[in-house]
Symmetry: C2
Subunit: 429 residues, 2 copies
């Protein structure tokens, strides 16, 4: 195929006519698909239904230690749930707190706690003059909304090969005491689907923050979310907690995970893992905030998933559902876009997203065109701080919710829109 940029104006005009006709046809098909959020499909939720039989009316509702999960108490979660979530995060059970039904509120709470009470006894953020937070982008919009809401100046860190641009991260973190944290989705990252390299993790572990209240927000949301069973087709993330420990810097880390995309997106369990000092800090206000989270749901999860091996086995059933959707999209992209030089995309081996980069200035228009023909994508720009993609190139594709067939149809429409918008853009130049 001929690259669009090498086409003459006449070629582009002819192509535009052809694509416009195809787009009108596509609109007529009445598609109605939502690829906007990383939302499990009902079939994935069906995979965990047996967990609901774990605690019936005649169940043993006690933990291994004999605690009645129905009653008050146990601030940091039942020990077996701490073990399970610790295994997933690669952090010892003693350094884990299991909370409510998701990890987002735990992250929010950590930031909120830092605002009011300060990090580990340091000056509360709200009593400090200036606050900055590093935001590797494209990244997770809900992360950025937290720091935006709390009034941080958000610094965009470009995502490059192997993770965030570590030169820039080091420059900021090691020199600027107003930099208080960085958002990371280190494995099968949202939205790129890529995993931080060992070198990146080691550079995180070697940071010398100018601020003594700087923390790495390590959202390990897709720790076990592989698309392939073969080990050589699975990304491996170096254990940051271990790497930090080697350097005596484990206090820099706040790691998060949940079973939202393992069991039920609305009724999972979430956890935070951190150093002794950080756990003590979290517990200090947590004990004022709550008597304890839902231990019955923790017990349900532990009895059902058992351990990391059980989780991994369970995740392969998710992979069977997810893989064809990713492949359907990538097949269409490969077939339709090869050689055109009108977009690049990631080829994730896990997680929930494929990231697509259009030519500069096209992403918003592509998302709008898709919407016009019935396919809803994440709003263009959402993957950047303040919702503003400076080059207007990035589009997050979430293939989980539709069927593989629907995904193929949606991908067809998507590439059509990319082509059409690009042609229009080139003609307007």
């Amino acid at each position: 195929m001929k690259a669009y940029k090498n086409m003459s104006k006449d070629e582009l005009l002819a192509l535009k006519e052809e694509l416009t006709k195809a787009f009108e046809d596509a609109k007529g098909k009445g598609l109605k698909l939502d690829m906007s959020r990383g939302k499990p499909t009902p079939k994935q939720l069906d995979l965990s239904m047996e967990m609901l039989d774990i605690l019936p009316s005649d169940c043993d509702y006690k933990t291994e230690a004999g605690t009645d999960t129905r009653n008050y108490g146990v601030l940091d979660g039942i020990p077996e749930a701490k073990s399970l979530m610790g295994e997933i995060m690669g952090i010892p059970a003693d350094n884990v707190i299991v909370c409510g039904n998701a990890s987002l509120p735990i992250m929010y709470d950590c930031v909120s706690r830092s605002m009011v009470f300060g990090v580990c006894g340091k000056t509360p953020f709200m009593k400090q003059e200036k606050l900055k937070f590093l935001c590797p982008a494209p990244g997770y919009d809900r992360h950025f909304r937290i720091t935006e809401t709390f009034g941080f100046e958000m610094i965009t860190i470009p995502m490059v090969e192997g993770g965030p641009d570590m030169d820039m991260v080091e420059e900021y973190v090691n020199n600027d005491p107003t930099v208080k944290g960085i958002w990371c989705v280190p494995k099968y990252s949202n939205p790129l689907g890529t995993t931080y390299s060992d070198e990146t993790v080691r550079r995180f572990a070697a940071l010398n923050p100018a601020a003594d209240d700087f923390r790495i927000y390590w959202d390990n949301a897709y720790a076990v979310h592989h698309l392939y069973e073969e080990k050589d087709k699975q990304d491996q993330l170096l254990n940051l907690y271990e790497e930090l420990k080697k350097n005596g810097k484990e206090d820099l880390l706040l790691e998060f995970a949940s079973t939202s995309k393992v069991t039920f997106a609305g009724a999972g369990i979430g956890a935070v893992g951190a150093s002794d000092a950080n756990i003590a800090w979290i517990k200090k206000t947590m004990t004022v905030q709550t008597i304890g989270y839902d231990k019955m749901n923790m017990l349900r999860h532990v009895r059902y998933l058992k351990n990391l091996a059980g989780v991994e086995k369970h995740m392969m059933r998710h992979a069977e559902l997810m893989r064809p959707k990713f492949e359907a999209v990538l097949d269409v992209f490969d077939r339709e876009l090869s050689g055109l030089e009108i977009g690049t995309y990631t080829r994730p081996r896990g997680g929930y997203f494929i990231s697509f980069d259009t030519l500069p200035g096209c992403a918003k228009a592509v998302v709008e065109k898709c919407k016009e023909a019935g396919v809803t994508l994440t709003g263009a720009g959402a993957t950047f701080p303040y919702g503003k993609d400076p080059k207007d190139t990035n589009i997050r594709i979430a293939p989980s919710f539709p069927t593989p067939e629907e995904m193929a149809a949606a991908a067809d429409l998507f590439v059509l829109c990319v082509k059409l918008v690009t042609v229009e853009k080139l003609l307007a130049e």
Copy 2:
């Protein structure tokens, strides 16, 4: 019986000898009872076990509106859960947000949100010079810990006939703009077990706060927690939300409730009810904090309890278990303390506590003596701001956890300790 204060020194000395001997005997019995927290007994938790069969693996997991409760979404709770919790609180479903497994974190969040973001767009508390919070006492220690932790100056408001001393409340609220809130447990209050009178509620509804960001924290924790089935033996609380509406002041209210002491103390559902403006304010940051709380547990609750009538019926089964314990304690108190003038106590018709007032300066010593003989009570002073009971008189008794027989034994020990400590006190004067 002769009042202790009318006894001669010789009489007191003889009594002391007798009581000391009895106390030593009691110690020998090796009692081991915990009356420190308002914790349901396992038998109460057993009452709700059938709820665990509501959502088995082959269940219908959808709400009436067709929402898949297993998946993400629905920030403010499923509509049927909003209805249920609204009925319990006496607030329309549209003005209710159903959250996680308890109400304490919702209260904490409301204070925390006010600290950082301000109340409904007003200046954040943390940007204000001075903050005060009114604390009717004796009251709930966990309330006081929240406002202490956030750095409020806590003002003790004496509990009098019909509720908090409203003259003092009005004086503070209507004149002092640094007063930002008041903690209330208006029905079967913690620890008195008494209910605010209609006049008290009406006076709350007529407050003219000097601060435009003042809120009434109305913790209706025991809204349906009667001990008796007969209507004339149940306390009735005037609906503050309705009374405020009559005065166009509904923005003053934040009402809280949960099913912690209806179904499972560790795995219930909690809710907040408030005016349109307050609900919008809460949602504004809540949507940054979470994608939504556990909808499956909400569905479980709604299908099991159905509606307020269902809840009330269910609560009568709790009453059957609780009533004998309260009566066992009160029987011992009536029999053993009548005429001695060494203590007064409340006679609650609901809730979880009996409140006991010793002569000044005796409460701490009584709690210590009880502990010495194997009965753990809530720490003396806990029912006051900063954990300091100025007169050292108040002791909170939580009869729910032990059996009625154990409660009688514990009450026997308790009155023995009250007698002994009082005699020692009188002899020392």
